[in-house]
Subunit: 524 residues, 2 copies
């Protein structure tokens, strides 16, 4: 201990670069997002698995192409060589390959992943961040799991209160392959042309065309043909148009893709989510392993916004570069609303086979960018109500006491009433002071946004009564002074009043509570 | 990709030594435990914080004595040197020191920690395992937070259905210091004698006395005097006895400790948890940083059990040492019920100062051994009901269809009804087959333990009706065949039936649901 005390203060007190602590209202918002998402997954029969934070190094190697350099390795302290997980998909595929008895599963996994990238909070790029993956593995009749994933996606964003303010961009790898084949893209240029197409959400066609022809040496005629396809987006009617394109339908890959999409559109219609779908021929998605439908969810806030980035830049100029970088790295600038998609995924039928050789298990999945969803939710909440609107805890009742001369604090009485409330499953707190002032107790309760007070006074207690009072009511309100109730009835009274506050939103047991919690946060 | 395919199968598919995947019913049981615990913390106004999985190496160094060799380091890949967290207490103290504006907090943190120990599943020693910490930081009137922590502890074990089958061993560092001073232990032997005393839960006094005198060179008279104190345990009456011991009370440290304990006993009485408390003068706790009350929760299963350990030993002999070690390491033996305590903690008023120099923030906390609690809960559940009793998912309704000749599977109709149920917040599933057989649908539903079926038939649908049927009812039961209800009423009917099944346990909104979930798991 003596040695520790000497060492004290000789190093900077901080978290590692690219990581952050979560606390306070941020933590509350994040937890609500997680519980909303988890709730939807469970509503669809999903279960969760939890894998170790590190995997054997060789499990991860060869899975991420040139990004493999971003993998965090553990030090070689003797024994196996391990690395921190880079995503949740490879551990899932490893788990499926190790558990041959599992031939089908709906699984979700919300956990942190690690990338030794240059951190840039302004772009939402952290070294430790959450992923939230949902995947359906198994051999089923076509497009049914795919459709359910898109339904789940909509339930999640509706549950978060986004109220239709998002779009699911949808495409199919085989349609894209068909486009490239029909237009005459040479086989060796398929990947690079595909990744050029993927930039159409950020750049105009002219720019993408220039990249294809000048940088990547594509025949300008071929590029123009591609352009004729990939700038198109729409709904089911686009599908009909493509079906009438004889040259296109003659391509086997395109034909298969169109059939899949027609079936999918039918199912999405039954699931009542068609209005959220944009069939977008420019969507390509970077990862190699997709084999079927691909999708990406965008929202207002997803478009690259530069205003926050500019603020960081300006601060950099003003305070000197290092200072600004510090501000960025410790998360204090945290302006990472406004970049990229908020969820993305697709079908990958061949990944599990990378581990298990024998058995392929077809999979389709989606990954929710929970850090981005968090930033957008937080920004919307603050814009609408101010940060104070999000409570730092969930206490429903503050038990307090008051008295005149000779007031002894009624500590044990407060403890006893709190015990009664806890026994009734009610969230309750009281002051840890022997003789707290009444004003200080009200201040604590109001600072925490606690909705109800149970107030004890010696005379009332002698009559077997306590006062239950709603906090935050305006002067002159009929219930301003609360009501005296028998001490034995305090749990019932509190439950009734909490029930009334939750009001109409508490439609179903359990669900109502979650909806109410989320309603506190989510704002259009 | 080609390279990956070559590499495939050339290494063993496994998780790193001392880690495991969580899935299936294990995951369900663990999640229920977490939600029960979290629920209690929130009921007491606690909030959670989340810190990075790795910290700067220098934050951890010098905090764990000789156990520091067990810390996992990240590889030096350029930049800061980091280590995986070893516990949740040091990151909490670091966070408090970094956030000077936080002068008080009730915080909980459930997360994995990492120790490069020799893994021994039979002793519950993993390299990656969960800790669940709850701490109250801040300057308050004496013993109030301490008492609330013990109240919370009881609510948690009651919530887990342990129904009084656990004991909180309680002591106070100052009382122990008083004992040692009054008995005449030399200052330089305080630590070592204290750790000898701590063994009294596993060894008889004679053995501990021998260690003190023969190994540690303590004067036998001093040892005997210590023996007169530390073998004593009991409740409030032991406190009264000690108060009458004039020599003891004359010691300043003992006096302070006794005053604290008297106050604490008063508070524990009001909190209605005294019956669970055993004031145990032999409890010493290993960690140096405790400064006040210390406690440890033990249960039936906590006593060191050797039967499982022996099985592992026997297997080791039979199969050769390496094989047995493998069996042990991959978790397949997993018999770690029966070792040590299930929760432990105490007051530590000086730890935060190690980081912040200026401001001390007094703290009191407890850490729940969730992996042990898991093993005990799982063993009890299996003993009582068999593993099948724990459902692998939470689906409430399986939507199915049947029909005679010309049956088209009614896929879209099943999807539509599922959509209606999801919109109503009900957990529902249906077969991903176009034309599933009725028997296969019942089999799926029953395998998942789904309580209700909504059954569609062409004739019933034409009349605007569906059949709602409870699954698993015995032949001859009045409701065996279910009831026909209007399709528009399906959500209401399902809700009613689910509500009835939850029955009397659903006392309060939300709480009832949790209680019911836990009731499925927890068995005396």
């Amino acid at each position: 201990m003596a040695k520790d005390k000497e060492a004290k203060q000789q190093f900077q007190l901080k978290v590692p670069k690219g990581t952050k602590d979560w606390a306070g209202t941020d933590m509350i918002i994040r937890d609500k997002i997680f519980s909303t998402i988890t709730d939807v997954f469970k509503r669809h029969g999903a279960t969760t698995i939890d894998t170790p934070v590190f995997e054997l190094k060789e499990i991860l190697s060869g899975k991420y192409g040139e990004d493999s350099k971003l993998i965090y390795d553990l030090a070689d302290q003797g024994g196996e060589l391990c690395s921190l997980r880079y995503d949740l998909t490879v551990p899932f595929a490893r788990w499926l390959a190790m558990n041959a008895s599992v031939q089908s599963i709906k699984r979700y996994h919300i956990a942190k992943v690690y990338r030794r990238d240059a951190p840039a909070m302004s772009k939402g790029r952290m070294r430790e961040f959450y992923q939230c993956d949902f995947d359906i593995a198994g051999t089923y009749d076509p497009m049914l799991p795919d459709a359910e994933i898109l339904r789940i996606t909509c339930e999640i964003f509706e549950g978060l209160g986004w109220d239709g303010k998002y779009t699911i961009k949808l495409n199919h790898r085989k349609i894209l392959d068909g486009v490239f084949e029909v237009c005459g893209v040479p086989k060796d240029k398929l990947r690079t042309i595909s990744s050029a197409v993927d930039k159409l959400d950020k750049a105009p066609w002219d720019e993408v065309r220039r990249e294809m022809t000048e940088e990547k040496g594509l025949d300008p005629d071929v590029a123009d043909k591609i352009g004729g396809y990939v700038v198109r987006k729409g709904g089911k009617e686009l599908l009909e148009t493509l079906k009438k394109d004889e040259a296109f339908v003659a391509n086997a890959s395109a034909k298969q893709g169109l059939e899949d999409m027609a079936l999918l559109f039918d199912y999405l219609d039954v699931f009542a989510v068609l209005p959220r779908i944009s069939f977008d021929l420019s969507l390509a998605r970077g990862l190699d392993y997709y084999t079927g439908v691909i999708y990406e969810v965008v929202t207002e806030g997803s478009a690259p916004s530069t205003s926050e980035g500019q603020k960081v830049q300006q601060r950099a100029k003003k305070e000197g570069k290092d200072k600004a970088r510090d501000a960025d790295e410790d998360g204090s600038s945290d302006p990472y609303v406004g970049v990229g998609s908020v969820a993305a995924g697709g079908r990958y039928d061949e990944l599990v086979g990378m581990f298990s050789g024998k058995a392929q298990i077809p999979c389709v999945g989606i990954s929710f960018g929970v850090d981005r969803i968090f930033s957008i939710t937080k920004a919307r909440t603050e814009r609408a109500k101010g940060a104070a609107a999000v409570r730092a805890n969930e206490v429903d009742v503050y038990v307090m006491a008051f008295g005149g001369k000779g007031f002894d604090g009624l500590l044990k009485e407060r403890m006893e009433v709190a015990t009664t409330l806890w026994d009734g499953g009610i969230k309750a707190e009281f002051s840890y002071k022997l003789k707290p002032k009444l004003a200080a107790q009200f201040k604590s309760a109001e600072a925490g946004g606690v909705p109800l007070a149970v107030i004890l006074g010696a005379d009332e207690l002698a009559a077997g009564q306590v006062r239950v009072k709603e906090l935050g009511l305006p002067d002159g309100h009929a219930d301003k002074d609360g009501v005296l109730v028998a001490k034995a009835r305090v749990v019932d009274e509190v439950r009734e009043r909490l029930g009334r506050r939750q009001g109409a939103s508490a439609a179903g047991v359990g669900v109502g509570v979650v909806e109410d919690e989320v309603a506190r946060l989510s704002v259009a």
